[in-house]
Symmetry: C2
């Protein structure tokens, strides 16, 4: 017997037929003797419709009212699933964000959960009641409805799992787990049995859209064991767990790519202390997130070129922001390029093994792929390359690190 939180995303509850299928899955866990809590998203498409209504009225909306509108989708699903569970003879009830309560800060539209008062939920679960909680929603200190930002239902599920001290948090989705690479590009990609929180975080932040980043951070912090699995089958998925649970650590766990990148270069920037701060200050003020940064060694000791990447959506804004400060910043030219992709190699193993980055560089060189920018973290090496080489690079790296399925 275990205590489980099951989370179902929008495609898993897209219509009544799928909600009935979800109810069957939940009943399966209850029949197996488990205590079950469920977190649900809105039926796929519903939240988009609600957001479109808000945008039609005003793009400069009051986020408190936005939350009142968009939080309803999950509420509908929670009631419907509770009904479908009752039809199967289960003792089930919905419990809304403000009813539990799921307490958040007051950052409407992207609120953070501060506490879940789960005593009552635990009591119900111990009595065999299935509690269905709408994801994505909470309540601010002043009693108004909040939402956690898109994809926030993952975070709701992990937070609930932490609050009820669940043995496992199953994230049901439309993929069967976490893969070594995108199977649509790399045919030989394999589903991973296990992956560490740290690796999953790097995967999530570089474009493997399986789990919301914040949900993984929260799982890591509270040591919630996560499982990413398919709502269309009963196969086990991928466990996201602490390092200690993984006996044989692979050198590299995944190869990912992110196309949502733009490269910006400032030429002939003065090579003196403080210049980077001068440049990145205005970007930070404009809420533009800068990712990779490279500053060339100065050839003449006076000026240098500075290259960095931003999200493609921020490219134009970044260029305009810097142009407006040109006299202040003192650069010659500003160049930008969207035909780039960030390819990353991720693995806990690289902390203890040398040569992981070198293997990446030579595998790409063998295919004649030019590396424009490099950045590294403890468990990740990322390179920026020309976008048309994306597929070639992913397959070459997948093979080079021995990840190909047999």
């Amino acid at each position: 017997m275990a205590r489980i939180v099951m989370k179902f995303g929008g495609t898993s509850v897209v219509n009544i037929e799928r909600i009935e299928a979800v109810a069957d899955k939940v009943k399966g866990e209850v029949d197996a003797g488990n205590q079950v809590g469920v977190v649900v998203s809105a039926m796929a498409g519903v939240t988009n419709q609600l957001v479109a209504y808000v945008d039609e009225i005003s793009t400069l909306y009051d986020a408190r009212e936005y939350d009142v509108v968009v939080s309803t989708g999950e509420q509908v699903t929670s009631g419907l699933l509770a009904l479908a569970l009752q039809k199967r003879g289960l003792d089930a009830r919905s419990c809304l964000g403000w009813q539990i309560p799921v307490e958040t800060d007051d950052a409407h539209g992207k609120a953070r959960i501060t506490a879940i008062r789960a005593d009552r939920v635990v009591e119900w679960m111990e009595k065999g009641k299935v509690v269905v909680v709408p994801g994505f929603q909470g309540v601010a200190p002043d009693g108004r409805v909040t939402t956690l930002g898109r994809g926030g239902s993952d975070t709701s599920a992990v937070a609930l799992a932490a609050a009820v001290e669940a043995d496992l948090c199953d994230i049901y989705t439309d993929v069967s787990g976490v893969y070594t690479s995108d199977p649509r590009i790399v045919a030989k990609a394999r589903k991973l049995d296990k992956i560490t929180y740290e690796e999953m975080l790097e995967m999530a932040s570089v474009g493997a859209k399986v789990l919301q980043t914040r949900s993984v951070e929260m799982a890591m912090k509270h040591e919630v064991r996560l499982q990413v699995r398919s709502s269309y089958s009963d196969e086990p998925g991928t466990l996201v767990v602490g390092e200690d649970e993984i006996v044989e650590q692979e050198l590299v766990s995944g190869i990912t790519c992110s196309r949502d990148e733009a490269k910006i270069t400032l030429t002939c920037v003065a090579d003196r202390p403080g210049v980077a701060a001068t440049i990145f200050g205005p970007l930070a003020d404009a809420a533009i997130n800068v990712d990779m940064i490279v500053q060339n060694v100065s050839a003449d000791g006076k000026s240098t070129d500075l290259t960095f990447t931003v999200a493609e959506a921020d490219r134009e804004k970044a260029v305009q922001t810097l142009k407006a400060e040109k006299s202040e910043l003192g650069f010659l030219e500003i160049l930008s390029d969207s035909d780039v992709v960030k390819v990353s190699v991720i693995g806990m193993g690289m902390r203890s093994h040398v040569g992981v980055a070198q293997k990446m560089f030579s595998a790409l060189a063998d295919k004649g792929i030019n590396i424009q920018v490099i950045s590294t973290s403890e468990i990740k090496v990322s390179v920026l390359i020309e976008e048309e080489y994306t597929e070639l690079a992913l397959r070459a790296l997948h093979h080079a690190y021995g990840l190909d399925a047999k």
Copy 2:
């Protein structure tokens, strides 16, 4: 300066364009110096969709979960209207049923409002804030969401108006007021400037679907002045008020018809004390509402015929219920007929004037219309006639009582 509650139904908020138009109307009242509270229905069609989802899962649903699902439509509209009002520079916010709170009993799906704690709302209104309240919803003593039954937003509006001691509760709808008769049938029907609560109640209960019956009862109890008016124009509508506000009382205010009637006759029923109770007991047990009842004088002192009406939807059930008890009840035959219509003449004036009923009977006789059953109340005379005479009867009565527009 006045304190006003404005209520907008589903067709008035069917899309963003109409919500913007509603916002303009609200702004008009604020600009005129009034304190305004607003109650909104779900966008037309939304509640039906939500009910259909519930029915698709189970027709024997848990009304508590039904309420969680169907209450969301109004919540969406309240947030959207608050945003549209803010766009117009107004200080506006939504306030959900559980936030105010609108306290109800726990009769989920058809809950009754027990109290509205409106101190905070009054404070906001006095500061010029427009509070937008989703109609139809409340919160039960145990903190779960309740709904008031279909059309319940009228009741929400009246209850809010009573709680904030509003000077007027404007019910905006797709008709421009209360008419002396159905204008689709009686071309010369006139919009009434004023009507009493009592008359409106009789109108509502016999098929003039302008206001939910319960909302009128509540308005009468709390002396809330109601106005039924069009959301498509700025013309004044019909005031529903206490008798003392109406200086010159018309003899008859309206002629209505209800087609949703079925007539049932039991022949040769024993003419002895208690027989009526014996017959209507089983119907009451089966939750069948009996309306008009006529028992003929017995010709032989031993048996008589008994005729009554029920809602058409209950006809078959009523017949089956009585047939099952035939040996117990002791009647000869059971006859039923759906080709009947109930036509009613309604007016406060008939309390102090004789001959109102007589005028009805002779007007119908003049047109050769046979009266099958008659029932009367203090301010209403109703007759059951053959359905094909409906239009003829309405026009004849409208003319006979001098209601025709000039």
